[in-house]
């Protein structure tokens, strides 16, 4: 098995252009996207805790919430009122932000309306009073998402008070950043680009290598030797898994040096994720290689695999920003889990326990793909 690994690494050593490709492409990608990317984000999951008990029969929180539901940026998953106080909804929602289930918990305290109206009155009298405050516990892992949430609330408040009532806003948004305090957009997508680049290169290398193996008769020769099918697939998986690792390392180092990204968690854990992704992708490459008669045909599979991954795996957009009809597809793309896992490790600083779900999915993905490959390779006995 190691002989096959060695062979593949050696083949690469002789092919300087491919080595350059492995290193330059991810650099180019991260630089290009880093400088140019921007997008619209909608449908972000949030929780709302509304304890506002009103003031003189005015319920200002309700006005604001009504406005929120008219707009599409925020998708209120759960709404708690004063009657739910026993559930401790504030703590519950904060916990959900910490678990990554929702992006934000928006909390209106019970004297929200009173404070707002008192602030309005004192402002009218030219006095200064503390404005009323909406508390937002925010997951800033994706800075675009975080600023969208904050901007949406701000805009809603503006609409309610300034546009509709012609008043100065007596409400401020107080944010409590749960994750990614200093995160910029580059921090958000560096893990995504890492997964994407590793996947692209592993896929390309594996599909082309196997097409060549079949076409040049080398696979026949391997199969007429004592090496087992498992060793062939395993040898390849190890070689290309290592290539994926090398690439992921280049990206991490480049992102840290060029863009000063913050890595909160253990980068080794992120590399493990990339390694698993690489192994599984090798399997896809192998299985598709039997459908391609030559290298050019193999290349035609590239967009088939790469575009859905770029668009649907949450590399640049959060999954929530993807149209609802397409979202189930996201969960069929292994890259989704790799990106989510790497992001949780690098920005949220999560350990192996918190990302055990993503790791398990990727292990299953890699195992299934490799076993299918071995099965497809079985000597025609």
């Amino acid at each position: 098995m190691l002989a096959v690994t060695k062979k593949n690494l050696r083949s690469l050593k002789h092919d300087r252009r491919t080595i350059a490709f492995i290193i330059v492409v991810p650099l180019l990608m991260i630089a290009l996207f880093g400088y140019t990317f921007g997008g619209d984000i909608e449908n972000l999951s949030v929780n709302v805790v509304n304890f506002d008990s009103g003031f003189n029969n005015s319920y200002i929180a309700d006005w604001i919430l009504e406005e929120i539901s008219d707009r599409e940026a925020l998708n209120v998953l759960e709404m708690y009122g004063p009657e739910d106080a026993d559930l401790q909804p504030s703590e519950l929602s904060l916990e959900k932000v910490k678990n990554g289930e929702i992006w934000a918990a928006i909390i209106f305290e019970n004297n929200f309306s009173r404070d707002a109206i008192l602030a309005l009155e004192s402002m009218r009298e030219g006095e200064f009073t503390l404005p009323s405050s909406i508390i937002v516990h925010l997951d800033s892992t994706n800075p675009n998402v975080a600023s969208t949430v904050a901007n949406e609330l701000q805009r809603t408040i503006q609409n309610v008070f300034v546009s509709q009532l012609g008043l100065i806003s007596p409400v401020v948004v107080t944010t409590d950043i749960v994750y990614g305090g200093d995160a910029e957009f580059i921090d958000f997508f560096a893990p995504g680009v890492m997964g994407l680049a590793a996947m692209m290169v592993t896929f390309m290398l594996s599909i082309i290598s196997f097409v060549q193996e079949r076409r040049n008769g080398t696979l026949d020769r391997l199969l007429s030797s004592p090496i087992t099918e498992g060793e062939i697939v395993g040898g390849y998986a190890l070689a290309f898994g290592l290539v994926g690792l090398m690439q992921a390392t280049v990206i991490i180092v480049a992102a840290v040096l060029l863009f000063q990204i913050q890595i909160v968690g253990n980068p080794m854990l992120a590399l493990l994720i990339i390694f698993l992704l690489g192994m599984g992708t090798l399997g896809i490459g192998f299985l598709l290689s039997s459908l391609a008669r030559n290298e050019f045909q193999a290349m035609q599979f590239m967009p088939l695999i790469i575009f859905p991954s770029i668009l649907l795996a949450g590399v640049f957009w959060p999954i929530e920003a993807i149209p609802e009809i397409l979202r189930p597809l996201s969960y069929f793309i292994p890259l989704t889990y790799a990106v989510e896992g790497c992001r949780s490790v690098m920005i949220r600083g999560w350990g192996i326990e918190e990302i055990s779900f993503e790791i398990s999915i990727l292990i299953i993905f890699a195992a299934v793909m490799l076993i299918l490959s071995i099965y497809a390779l079985k000597r025609r006995g």
Binding site: L2, A3, V4, K6, K7, R10, S11, H14, D15, R215, N216, G217, T218, D220, R221, L222, L223, S224, S225, P226, I227, R379, R380, G381
Partner: protein, 258 residues
Amino acid sequence: MMTEIEKVKRIVSASKSSDYAISTHQLAKKFDDLVAVSDLNLKINRGVLYGLIGPNGSGKTTTIRMLVGILKATSGSAMVLGEKVPIAKNIAKIGYMPQETGIYSDLSAHENLELFSELYTMDKRIFNRREKELLEMIDLEERKNSLVSQLSGGMKHRVSLACALIHDPELVFLDEPTVGIDPELRAGFWKYFIGLKSKGKTIILTTHYMDEAQRCDIVGMMRAGELIAEGSPKKLMEVTSTDNLEDAFLAYSGEVEY
């Protein structure tokens, strides 16, 4: 010491199917509607240099691919080195040179040879010795560190042959081993083949050169997936009253009376 009786016993037992290098029973392969090989019954003794001849598409390569275990037969069965195909226990004892070059063009000749020696878990010292010997035979000692992609077609073929022989197999399948090889080197190859045979190795090869076929112990003539004749070159020519195997082949093909 072997008694006479034991010797006779050995000779008799050698004719049992388990002691043939190769024996097939009604071996057949169909690709969709195309019959590539039909009802092939081959018996090839050990230590024999066996040549399969016939036009392109007559089933020579398909037969070899079934015997080395990389292509599943549609029906029938085959035994190789006393083991049912696809063989496992004795797989290290066979060598196979596919018609496509079957070597990694992004590795050097030396790296290819080393890879295949590692697949057969060969001892490093034995490998070094074998490599030297084979590189000498294929006359590529000086180019052993060149990438295969930089070698000429004939040179690639020579490296491919060396890779099939690196582990000193008992039984080798050579699919057109001398295509694109210049006459001088071809003579060298044949000297090597005869040498292998004298060491008791079994060689199955396919060829389009009739002068090569003439040097085989047994020739099998294939046409449209069928073995139409088999025997020593001398016998095949005698039966058909021809003076070369090409005419003999045409005679057996049925168009010519004999």
